[in-house]
Every structure is written in structure tokens, then in C-alpha cells.
């Protein structure tokens, strides 16, 4: 008898609407343990909504989200808090806490979420800052004193500080210059490979997607319209994917543009 195939994350029939607008429309996707999955798609197609549903920040109207085989939709508050200890998240705008110093931001999940003693948590925080190329002097600064690229690196350090099993990256390179974007991509690849974490990234930056993904999935109109290994994306034969990766205005994807 062999073990049944058990993806790390399994999403089935996920539906989520905001008012009359249906953002996710019966979405299905799996992500294996240790895999780096990148979800691409245009702006407003529901990529962030999908991640927020998996994290439990938004409640889907229907569907199933399983982590390690266990259903997570409708989990009670305490169980959700325990589950969240498996996750790390890098937000699009970094979402660093303004009122705390940089090292306190990185150590937050350890001190507050896991009750670790501050001194021990600070040592880990400084080590994680070093891992993303930031010195200990940066740890004493406030987030407002950092550049956008440095904030992203701090946010990455915070996401990996507790060595989570699954990390979500929401538009990790948006708003960065190409060099800093590549630095962030390298750091993501390094962090994911070294720790063996399962990574789910959402982006519309194809350079970033090609660099960090083992597998790419394309989201359009609330559903996954294509998914496959990264090298296959250029030969997908899918008109949605072809239009998106080549950045063409003409094609099956029609942007919602209204004349003034």
C-alpha cells in the first residue's frame, strides 16, 4: 500500500465575491511541500485575495482550503492562531510596524506570537537581518528611516524569522528598481532553498516569476487557466498566458477600460 498524494496546500472550488463582483470563481490549485509556486495574473484578478483566503484574513463563500490535508476554512480562532505559526508573509507594501525598531519588527513573531524572550529573539532577528544583507546597526533604526528596498529586505527577514513551513510573497519586487528587484529575487530563492520552505508568490513581474518559480500558475477571471513548470511557460499554447507574458494589449484578456 502506498501513501496517498498529499499536497502541502490544496485549494478546491474557492469562491469569493465583493458585492456583485466575483473575484474567485471556483478556483483549484495545489502546491507541493518544498515547491516554489508563482501565481501570475493581471492587476485585480484576485491573486492577493487568494493568498488572504489561504491565510484566513478573508473568508471564502465556498470551497475548501487544506493545509497538510487538514481543512482550514471555518477554523476556530485559537486553531487559526496555531495554524498561522506555519506561515510567513511578505506584504506588497512591506507592512512594517512604524512604532517598533527594525529588529523588533523582525523578532515580532517570535516575541509576541511564540512568547520567546526578547534577548534571544533579538539575536535571531539580527542573524536574519544579516541573512538579507543588513547590518546590526540597521536593527536599531525605525522603518521610516529605510529605503523601499531595505524595507522589503526587513520584511523578508521578518517573514523567515520563525522559519515557517510556508511563506507567501505578495508582489515582492513591485516598486523596486531592476537591480534591487533582482537582489530581492536572489534572497527569496536563497531563503526558500536553504530552509526548504514551501513558497507561494504572487506577481505580475515575469522576470521575478521566472527566477523564483518551480511552477507557474496563471489566474484569470477567478480561475487558474494554466499551470506548469517554469520552463514550459514559453510553450504553454495558452492564449491567455501568451498574451500576458508577452505584454500584448491584443488578445483574449480584455482590460476594463472605460472611455471618460
Amino acid at each position: 500500500m502506498t501513501d496517498a498524494y498529499l499536497p502541502k496546500i490544496s485549494v478546491r472550488g474557492l469562491r469569493k465575491s465583493f458585492g456583485r463582483k466575483r473575484v474567485l470563481d471556483g478556483l483549484d490549485i495545489d502546491c507541493d511541500s518544498g515547491e516554489s509556486l508563482v501565481i501570475i495574473g493581471g492587476s485585480g484578478t484576485g491573486k492577493s485575495v487568494l493568498v488572504k483566503c489561504i491565510l484566513g484574513l478573508l473568508y471564502p463563500e465556498a470551497g475548501s482550503i487544506r493545509i497538510d490535508g487538514g481543512e482550514t476554512v471555518g477554523l476556530p480562532r485559537a486553531a487559526r492562531e496555531r495554524l498561522l505559526q506555519k506561515f510567513g508573509m511578505l506584504f506588497q507594501g512591506s507592512a512594517l510596524f512604524d512604532s517598533l525598531r527594525v529588529w523588533e519588527n523582525v523578532a515580532f513573531g517570535l516575541t509576541q506570537g511564540r512568547g520567546m524572550e526578547r534577548h534571544a529573539a533579538k539575536e535571531i532577528a539580527l542573524a536574519k537581518l544579516a541573512a538579507v544583507g543588513l547590518g546590526p546597526e540597521v536593527g536599531e533604526l525605525r522603518p521610516a528611516e529605510l529605503s523601499g528596498g531595505m524595507q522589503k529586505r526587513v520584511a523578508l527577514a521578518r517573514a523567515i524569522a520563525a522559519e515557517p513551513e510556508i511563506i507567501f510573497f505578495d508582489e515582492p519586487t513591485t516598486g523596486l528598481d531592476p537591480i534591487m528587484a533582482d537582489v530581492i529575487n536572489d534572497l527569496i530563492v536563497k531563503c526558500v532553498r536553504e530552509v526548504g520552505t514551501t513558497a507561494v508568490s504572487i506577481t505580475h513581474d515575469m522576470v521575478s516569476a521566472r527566477k523564483i518559480a518551480d511552477r507557474i500558475a496563471m489566474l484569470h477571471q477567478g480561475r487558474i487557466v494554466w499551470h506548469g513548470p517554469t520552463p514550459e511557460i514559453d510553450h504553454s499554447g495558452n492564449p491567455f498566458v501568451d498574451q500576458f507574458i508577452n505584454g500584448r494589449a491584443e488578445g483574449p484578456i480584455q482590460m476594463e477600460i472605460r472611455a471618460a
Binding site: K52, L55, G56, L57, R77, E81, R82, L84, Q85, F87, G88, M89, F91, Q92, G93, A95, L96, F97, D98, F108, G109, Q112, G113, R114, G115, R158
Partner: protein, 258 residues
């Protein structure tokens, strides 16, 4: 006519729904007080912010309120030769009504607005979602310390405001209106009862809770960037001010209503 009634009904239902949402928000936040972790440092920080840093504005308001009250009472009561009641009117008005209400309104403007702006900014910049992903309940970490700090700190602040307000009345009574200092002080505590002070402190606790609750609630539910945060700040101050006046009547009726 039917459309008119339907509009009234819709407004009433909307009011009930909003009240229910607010009550649920407060209930969920208070429920976190019974299980660890407890964020005592955050609560102490909020107590200093609400209490210590509000002292200048509350002190100034209280002293001038007491001074004006003494002056107005004197000019009014002198019409029927009741000037002797000035000290009593000042102390009763300050401890029962003006101390808690003016302190509540000042704190609503200073602290309630700041709470709504801070939490609102955290909401629109995903910091509240970040808290959740770091296994930290935002209601427990952000809201509960503020609610408890408001509840505990405002009575202390009102006690200080009461003393300063009565002192303001004393200054005007003695140095402007020519009352004998000893007679003024005697009149001040002669008719003052424990209930007068206690009712004011109960009001203060309620107002502190209301200010913190409205600041947190509107900040927590703000949407749409800087404009949304600005709107949340306005709603927090306006709704807290209205609720302070409504609860002032209800608590007064509970203590002194016949």
C-alpha cells in the same frame, strides 16, 4: 408616504446593525482579556498617553471652566441675593458634570482621534493583517490595551480636573469676587457628598471606554487610504462626543433620577 416610512425603517435598521457591529467588536475585544498573552506594557504606554499627556489640555480647560462657572454663578445668583451658593454650585457642577464631560470631550479630540488615525493607518498599510500572520490577535494587541487604559485612566484624569476646576472657582471667588477664603472652602465641602464625586468618576470610566472604543472601532474598519483614515478620525471624534453626551444623561439619571 410609504416611501417615507420605508426610509425611516431603513435608517432605523441601519442604526441597529451598526450598534450590533460595535457591540460585537467590543465584546470580542473584551473576551481576549480572560486568556493570555496579556500586553501590559502596551496598556501602560496607552495609560501614559491618555493620562499624562492629556494633563495640560485637561488642566487648562478645567481651571477656566471653574473660573467661568464662579463668575457666571455670582452674576446670576446676585440677582436674588444668593451669592453664598457660588462655592457649592461650582463644586457640584464640576464634580458631577463639567469635570467628566469636558475631560471626556477633550480626550475624545486628542486621544480618540489619534487612536483612529494610528489604527486606521495600520489597517490601510496591511499592518493589522501582518499582526494576524505573525500569530498575534489584533484585538488583543491593539484594542484591548486601549480600552482598559481608557477605562482606568480617565477617572484619574477627571479627579485631577475636578481639583483644578474647583481651584479655578476658588481663585475667582476669593481674588476677584472678594469671598472669604475660609468661608469659600467651608461652603465647598459642606454640601459635597461622596455620590457627587463617585458619579463623576463612574461617568469618567464610561467616557474613557467610549473614547477608546470609538477610536479603535473606526480605525480598525477604515478603508481606502489617507481619505479613509481621515474619515475614520472624524467619525471617531464625532461619535465619541455624541455618545459621551448620551451616556452622561443616562448615568446622571441612574444616579440622581427620581
Amino acid at each position: 408616504m410609504l416611501r417615507f416610512l420605508a426610509t425611516i425603517g431603513a435608517v432605523f435598521l441601519g442604526f441597529l446593525a451598526a450598534t450590533g457591529r460595535l457591540a460585537m467588536f467590543a465584546g470580542l475585544a473584551l473576551a481576549t482579556a480572560f486568556t493570555p498573552p496579556f500586553y501590559l506594557r502596551a496598556m501602560l504606554r496607552e495609560m501614559v498617553n491618555i493620562g499624562y499627556f492629556s494633563l495640560p489640555v485637561v488642566g487648562l480647560t478645567a481651571i477656566f471652566t471653574g473660573m467661568v462657572l464662579a463668575l457666571q454663578s455670582y452674576t446670576g445668583f446676585s440677582r436674588f441675593a444668593a451669592e453664598g451658593a457660588v462655592a457649592t454650585v461650582v463644586v457640584l457642577s464640576v464634580t458631577r458634570e463639567l469635570g467628566p464631560v469636558i475631560t471626556g470631550l477633550m480626550v475624545a479630540g486628542r486621544v480618540g482621534a489619534a487612536m483612529a488615525a494610528e489604527i486606521g493607518t495600520m489597517r490601510v498599510t496591511d499592518q493589522i493583517d501582518a499582526l494576524t500572520t505573525l500569530s498575534t490577535d489584533p484585538l488583543r494587541y491593539l484594542v484591548l490595551p486601549r480600552l482598559i487604559a481608557g477605562l482606568i485612566t480617565l477617572p484619574m484624569l477627571v479627579l485631577v480636573a475636578d481639583i483644578i476646576g474647583v481651584f479655578g472657582g476658588y481663585l475667582v471667588g476669593v481674588y476677584r469676587l472678594g469671598f472669604n477664603p475660609e468661608a469659600y472652602l467651608n461652603r465647598t465641602h459642606q454640601y459635597l457628598e461622596t455620590t457627587d464625586v463617585v458619579s463623576g468618576l463612574v461617568k469618567a470610566a464610561a467616557f474613557g471606554f467610549i473614547v477608546a472604543l470609538m477610536g479603535c472601532y473606526h480605525g480598525y474598519h477604515s478603508r481606502g487610504g489617507a481619505q479613509g483614515v481621515g474619515q475614520a478620525t472624524t467619525y471617531a471624534v464625532v461619535s465619541a462626543s455624541i455618545m459621551i453626551l448620551v451616556f452622561n444623561y443616562l448615568i446622571t439619571a441612574a444616579f440622581f433620577g427620581r
